[in-house]
């Protein structure tokens, strides 16, 4: 997620209409024809953060194609990681495309720009990734579901893990923007030890020599950092070069399958927290990982898994209710009766997940870097904001 504010904008715009057509013939029989559901996916398909959006889209579309439900139509647009483009796309999708459900936004600032307006207009929003605290607490909405997590969760789990491991003092670091500040406060919420030093880096920063020198100098027991996307790649490469012998803990974003190959061996051994891992032992996950590899010829990332689960949740609701009856459809979503690739999955009172969060370790398996679960950091974790939500 290198989000450097460059002032240089790409004007490209990609429009793709994907319609599933299979299984139309098998509909013959006694099944009542439900209203078709039209989904608008707004995600980042160009620019620095494109790999996250591409994985989200590919995971989502894999589930759609597997289901072969001809009643589901998906319109995909590229937000270029710009809030104003995302808002424009959502207006267009709601007004001209007349979609029923919006989904796909990767970044919290884009979600904040789009979600409140969409839910107010009676559309459903299913979040495949971004889940800022504002939408989990006072700003919660009956039409807003976060399928991924609440933003703080993975950082909280990292804090819990650091406590469990008995790290007495931690050096903690994140970029200076709202999600970065939430990250450090999430970490501290569950970390009992002493914070040796707390550093905010610039958003989009790529050189970490100065911070690495500070970390070496701090004498902390371990390092926690949250640097998504390209920032994490840069940091881990420079960290490995510096040869500092200190355990590293972080949320999964810097060690997700989309960027592990770019970091290389430098990532091996790092502990990272996530609610999903490719080696999670359940039927749905095995089928997902195999299906994704077969179709796209690469291992799925966390974002792909979240996209996949979101589509499966939607499909499960379509089985049970008609989108024309918003109340019933909402209930069907809330029930979350689908086989999640995470295993157990349920929604809490603010329609954010209640789920286990794991500690994964980066391993090298036959020359491919991937993650393996080594511990469970938190069980049935909801989030810190649910009680502020009056729903």
């Amino acid at each position: 997620m290198t989000g450097p504010k460059t002032g240089i904008h790409r004007e490209t715009r990609m429009t793709r209409y994907l319609t599933t057509t299979a299984l139309a013939l098998s509909m013959i029989g006694g099944t009542a024809m439900a209203e078709p559901v039209k989904v608008g996916m707004i995600t980042t398909l160009s620019g620095g953060g494109a790999s996250l959006g591409i994985d989200t889209r590919d995971g989502f579309m894999l589930a759609v194609e597997e289901a072969g439900n001809s009643e589901l139509e998906v319109v995909i647009e590229d937000d270029q990681r710009k809030p104003e483009v995302a808002v424009q796309l959502s207006d267009e999708m709601i007004q001209s495309e007349d979609v029923d459900v919006l989904t796909g936004i990767v970044w919290s600032n884009l979600a904040m720009a789009v979600v409140p307006g969409a839910t107010r207009q009676g559309k459903f929003y299913l979040s495949t990734n971004a889940a800022p605290s504002q939408l989990a607490g006072k700003g919660c909405h009956e039409n807003y579901f976060s399928v991924s997590y609440q933003n703080d969760n993975l950082h909280e789990a990292a804090g819990q893990y650091a406590t469990d491991e008995g790290f007495g003092s931690m050096f903690i670091m994140a970029p200076n923007y709202p999600a970065g500040q939430d990250s450090l406060s999430g970490f501290k919420r569950f970390y009992d030890g002493e914070v040796a030093s707390e550093v905010y880096t610039q958003l989009g920063q790529t050189d970490y020599a100065a911070e690495i020198a500070q970390i070496r100098d701090s004498g902390a027991d371990a390092l926690f950092f949250f640097l998504p996307g390209g920032m994490g790649i840069s940091f881990m490469k420079q960290w490995a070069e510096a040869g500092i012998d200190m355990p590293v803990v972080g949320p999964a974003f810097s060690f997700s399958q989309d960027i592990l190959p770019a970091i290389g061996e430098a990532a091996v051994g790092v502990k990272n927290t996530a609610q999903w891992s490719p080696d999670l032992d359940n039927e749905a996950n095995k089928a997902f990982v195999a299906g994704f590899e077969e179709k796209y010829d690469r291992l799925p990332s966390l974002y792909a898994a979240q996209g996949y689960d979101t589509a499966r949740l939607l499909l499960s609701a379509m089985e049970k209710a008609d989108i024309a009856d918003a109340e019933a459809f909402r209930e069907a979503l809330r029930a979350a009766e689908f086989d999640s690739v995470r295993g157990d999955f349920a929604f809490g009172p603010n329609q954010h997940p209640v789920q286990d969060i794991y500690v994964r370790e980066v391993i090298s398996e036959d020359g491919t870097l991937t993650n393996k679960i080594v511990a469970t950091a938190m069980e049935d974790r909801g989030d810190a904001y649910a009680e502020e939500c009056s729903m």
Partner: protein, 304 residues
């Protein structure tokens, strides 16, 4: 104290890489009067060429050579095909056209390499760290970058100051009609200068890409810093580019390190780090504003 010296080295290293970027930009602006926004794309091309060739051959050094060659070639082709038509146009046209080039290069790179960041790592012979006099542990590759940056700086000064081509470049800055009248093939000179600037940008991209991440769009943030550098240094001046780049590199690094600890003296730690970091990200722009107040043409600006 040791930490401070290490941080000075870090500032020096980032400044020298900025110099490689800014040198080409300032030459092109000074000699041809052209604003080239696509300079960041040449940086990206260097990094991708290095990563691609290094992955294919297993040799970082071949990759580095390829990065310089690829960026120079891309620069020369772009100059002949597009830029040449822009010299007589006004700056807005130049900005629009070179902006279009950014889009073409970015999407072209994505088409060739895909959207996922590429792997490029430090060659084994330069990996790890060394102990400097005084007991400072410092990354060998960063030291090598500092060395390479200094060498290029010296080479560039000799080229501009002591050679025939250098004379022509300086003359071209001063009066392009006159040197054309004296029989210098101005078209060839422009292509050469543009390719030289591109090669430097490509080299910077490869060296920096090795310790950072190689991905589409990596050039634009650096481009902005390079513009700050040439505005501080004075447009068209190589000396200005060097001084400006070192000032920006050191201000940025030291600001990030020192400001939070300064605020920590009289504020609560959490707030101090946050405020310090915010101010640090503004530091180079504040520096630029101060320089422009004192010297509106930049430190070594020829045409103030």
């Amino acid at each position: 104290m040791l930490l401070l010296i290490e941080q000075l080295l870090n500032g020096l290293q980032s400044g020298l890489m900025l110099f490689l970027m800014a040198a080409g930009l300032t030459l092109v602006f000074g000699v041809m009067g052209l604003i080239n926004l696509a300079h960041g794309s040449l940086y990206m091309i260097g990094a991708f060429a290095c990563a691609g060739v290094a992955a294919a051959t297993g040799s970082f050094w071949l990759g580095l050579a390829a990065s310089i060659a690829a960026a120079a070639a891309a620069g020369a082709i772009v100059e002949v095909a597009v830029i040449r038509r822009l010299y007589r146009r006004d700056h807005l046209d130049q900005v629009l056209a070179t902006f279009a080039l950014i889009l073409i290069f970015s999407e072209g790179t994505r088409w060739l390499y895909g959207s996922f960041p590429l792997y490029l790592n430090v060659p084994p012979s330069l990996s790890g760290s060394v102990t400097l006099p005084g007991g400072i542990q410092y990354s060998l590759f960063r030291l090598a970058i500092i060395g390479a940056g200094l060498l290029v700086a010296v080479g560039l000064f000799l080229l501009i100051g002591k050679t025939r081509i250098g004379v022509q470049v300086r003359a071209g800055e001063a009066d392009r009609e006159m040197i054309a009248a004296l029989g210098v093939d101005i078209g060839r000179l422009y292509t050469l200068v543009f390719a030289l600037g591109a090669a430097l940008a490509g080299m910077a991209g490869a060296l920096v890409g090795t310790i950072q991440s190689v991905q589409v769009g990596m050039g634009e943030p650096v481009l902005i810093l390079a513009f700050v550098v040439i505005v501080i240094g004075g447009i068209g001046s190589i000396k200005g580019a060097l001084v400006g780049a070192l000032l920006v590199g050191l201000t940025d690094t030291m600001g990030r390190v020192l400001l939070p600890s300064i605020f920590d003296l009289f504020m609560e730690t959490s707030a101090a780090t946050s405020v310090g970091a915010a101010l640090a990200s503004m530091a180079i722009y504040i520096l630029m504003a101060l320089v422009l107040i004192v010297k509106p043409g930049g430190l070594f600006g020829a045409r103030a």
